[in-house]
Structure formats: C-alpha cells, structure tokens
Amino acid sequence: MKKLYSITIAAGLALALAGCAGNNASTPSGDRDGDGIANISDQCPNTVLGTKVSKDGCKIYPTILELNEKELCSVDKNGIESVIATAAKYNKTAKAHGVEFKRLGMTNTQYIDGVNKALKTGGKMVVLLNKKGKPDKKLKPVTVKYAAERACKFAISALAQEAEGKTNWRLAVPGDGYKY
C-alpha cells in the first residue's frame, strides 16, 4: 500500500513537472512567464508572475488618475529617498506640460531641490523661499519629511488635475456644458 502511494506521488510530480516544462518552454504556444499570453504574442516575455498585463503581455501601468497618491507619497511607508524620487519623476512631466504647482513663492521644483539639499547635508528642515528665490523670513521652515510629501503630492496632483481637466473643462463654459 505504502509502495503504491509512493508511486502515485512520483507519477503526479513527474506529470506536474512535465506540464511546467511544457509551459516554460520557449515554444510559440508556451507561456514562459506565466502571464496568460502565449510566447508568440508576448512582447514582454519576462514579466514578474502575478503582474497585470495587457494583450501584448506587458505590464499595465496605472494611469495618473489611478495612482494612490497618499500611499506613494508616504515617507513612513516608502522612505524619503523613494518619495522624493517619485516627486521628481512626476514633477518633471508636470513642468514640461506647464502645470507645475507653486505655493507661497515656492515652485514644486524648489521644494524638491530643498529636500535633496537637506538629504545631502543631513539637514532636518527645508527653508521656504520667497518669489525672488531667497529665504522667506516671514515663513517658518518645514521638516524635510513634510516638504518631501508635499512635493510628491503636488507633482501627482498637478498631472491628475490636468488629466481630469481634459474631460471636464467644458462643464464650466456657458453655452456648452455649463447650465444655469
């Protein structure tokens, strides 16, 4: 009985391995990365298992409106270097699109620069600047964490607002989407 049990397990394993081998094979009909897209149609044959992919087998990135800004910009969850890198990445696009945010004389680029400078020097605070780019004596400096999170949220919000605006701006136009 024990012998029969062992044989069954061995056969099962062999079958499973054979199946996997067949699936991993670089044959056109196989699916090497297991994303559900056959190798022949898979433009990204090495996506990490479990990644959401499109019809061509490549990773589907969330649109700017699908990004979870609170999560992405949390220093506690991601670390300050990651948050400021996210800020820099999205702010570059916001700047190129002419939608960069500015608050109290400080552009978002200046927030990012302030955080990076503090990280290099080990400073804990970011000095806020006036419209001439000089330290604003009327405003208290903010913590590096606060500045990093603000820069990150500003960068993503600017692009999200731009994307939303493409579909809803007409709602404010008299004679078009605006009814009164």
Binding site: K102, N108, S157, G165, V173, D176
Partner: protein, 306 residues
C-alpha cells in the same frame, strides 16, 4: 459663354471664401454671445436670482452693492460695472488718475522713437491685438509685437509686464479710446480657430494647487466676493489694459502700470501654479480667447484698479 462661366466660377469662389472666413469664428461667436447672455442674466436682478448666481452673497451685498439691469456694454469697465461701492471710489480716483503722466510719457516714447513709430504708424490699435499671424501660424500680442519691432531694429527687448512696455501701451490705449475704437479680434482660418480653442480650454481648465480655473472666479464667480474684493467678469476684461494698480504703484508710481501679461501672471500665482511666461504660446492664446470675448466692446484704457 466662356466669359459667363468664368464670371460664375469667380463669384462662386468668392462666395465660398466669404462663407469660409465667416465660419472660422462661428464657434467663438457662439461662445461670446452665450457669455453676454450669461452675464446679462446674472446681473439682471441679483437679489431675485440669488440662488442661481449668488448663493454665498449676503442680503446687504445684494441690495446695496451689486448693481442690477446691466447690459453688454456696461461690462467694459470691469467690476466697477456692478460694484456700487467700488464705483464710488473709482469715480473719485478717475477725476485725477495717477496714470495721466505715464500716458504722456508713453506719448513721448512714441514720438521720439522712430522705430516704434514706423512699426505702429497709427497708435489707436488697442482693439486690434492679439491677432493671428497667418504666415507664422501664431498669435501676436501687442506686447510681443512691440518687442519684435524693437529687437528687429537691434534694440534690447523690454520687460513684458511693466515699465516702458506698459507706459507705451497706455498711450496706445488712450489713443484708441479717444478714437472710439472697439475690440475687434478676428479668426480667419482653421489654425486661428484652433489657437482660440486652446486659449478657451486654458481659461476654463482648473489649475494650480487651489484647483481654480480662471472661470471659477471670473465667470461663475464674477460678482461674488473674496475677502473684501468683488471678482470682476471675463466679459470686458481686456478692454481697459494696461491698468494702474494701486498695489503695484505703492512704492514707485512708474511701476503702477502693468500689461495684461503682468495681470495674468499674477492670476496664475493666485491659482497656485508656476506662472506661464509672458511670451509663451499658452499666454498668447489665452489672451486671444479673452480678447475675443470682449469683441465689440469699447476700449476703455488705461484704467485704474486696486
């Protein structure tokens, strides 16, 4: 027979051209008339229509400060069209406006600068800008035209927001008002119509961290109060520039005058956005749209604002 065919063809071609030229501004004209209707409806009887147009205004404001029964041309003087208290102070300052000497200085600049005079032989051009340059396929503002004129002659370009630029433009505005000119913006091609549409989209799109569009304050918000200021309306916004703002001129009178670009940059900042450059395509197209909305209105500049 051949002559008849040629004549008919020529007439048909001419008719087609005329129709096409008329069609390019069809949407803009529809927008302009809808804006006039909206503003006239809004200020017909503010107290009666408070729930539609003035949901946040107090009884006192609606009864004592917001004028009623306003018509199209009334809006040419900005928020003083409806703000009774503001109009009272405005009328007093207008008796001896602080920009008078600057207009004279502008006239001197004009008369003593052969280059400027050659580029702008008629100074009464306040209602003709911005226009769409069909050969370069871009919007030309009065500011960009002046700077092009002087840089083409080898001079250094002027500050686009204040100083000589605003001072010269104040003379152009005064000359235009004296000549009873009206805003006369043209859209005569598909490219010009596209530039107008981009300017319109920019005007109605929310911007900055405060999520405000220009329209939030100056269309839907027009006539409402922010702190103690009555928000002016888009209709008639470009008729009175450059303006002398008391806050701009508090340290130095010559700095008090500012161009439309200076004011728009300030609005961008108030929205919480990194302002667009005065000479950018974005700014020029925004001004093109804004000026079209004031088409047919009297030039009433330069003027004074807080």
């Amino acid at each position: 027979m051949l002559l008849k065919i040629a004549k008919t063809t020529a007439i048909l071609a001419l008719t087609a051209c005329t129709l096409n030229a008329g069609e390019f501004n069809a949407q803009a004209e529809k927008d302009r008339l809808a804006l006039v209707d909206y503003m006239e409806a809004k200020f017909a009887d503010p107290l009666k229509n408070r729930y539609t147009f003035f949901p946040y205004s107090t009884d006192d404001e609606l009864k004592n400060n917001i004028a009623s029964g306003l018509k199209h041309q009334d809006f040419a003087i900005g928020n003083y069209a409806f703000s009774k208290q503001g109009k009272f102070s405005y009328d007093e300052i207008k008796e001896m406006p602080p920009y008078e000497e600057l207009v004279e200085e502008g006239e001197e600049i004009y008369n003593n600068n052969a280059v400027i005079k050659a580029c702008f032989p008629d100074p009464a051009i306040g209602g003709d800008y911005p226009y769409f340059d069909e050969s370069k396929k871009e919007v030309v503002t009065l500011t960009s035209a002046i700077n092009k004129c002087i840089t083409d002659a080898g001079e250094k370009k002027w500050n686009e927001k204040k100083g000589k630029m605003a001072i010269l433009q104040s003379y152009f505005a005064a000359a235009s008002m004296d000549a009873e000119k009206k805003v006369d913006i043209k859209i005569e091609s598909a490219e010009a119509a596209a530039a107008y549409e981009r300017g319109k989209e920019a005007y109605y799109t929310q911007r900055g961290y405060l999520k405000l569009s220009c329209a939030t304050c100056h269309v839907q918000g027009a006539g409402q109060r922010v702190r103690n200021e009555s928000l002016s309306q888009l209709l008639g916004h470009t008729t009175h520039f450059p303006v002398f703002r008391l806050k701009w001129g508090k340290d130095k009178v010559a700095n008090g005058l500012g161009t439309l670009e200076r004011r728009m940059t300030g609005c961008n900042k108030d929205q919480g956005e990194n302002p667009h450059k005065a000479n950018s395509k974005w700014m020029k197209e925004l001004l093109y749209f804004m000026a079209y909305m004031s088409n047919g209105m009297n030039i009433d500049g330069p003027d004074i604002r807080k």
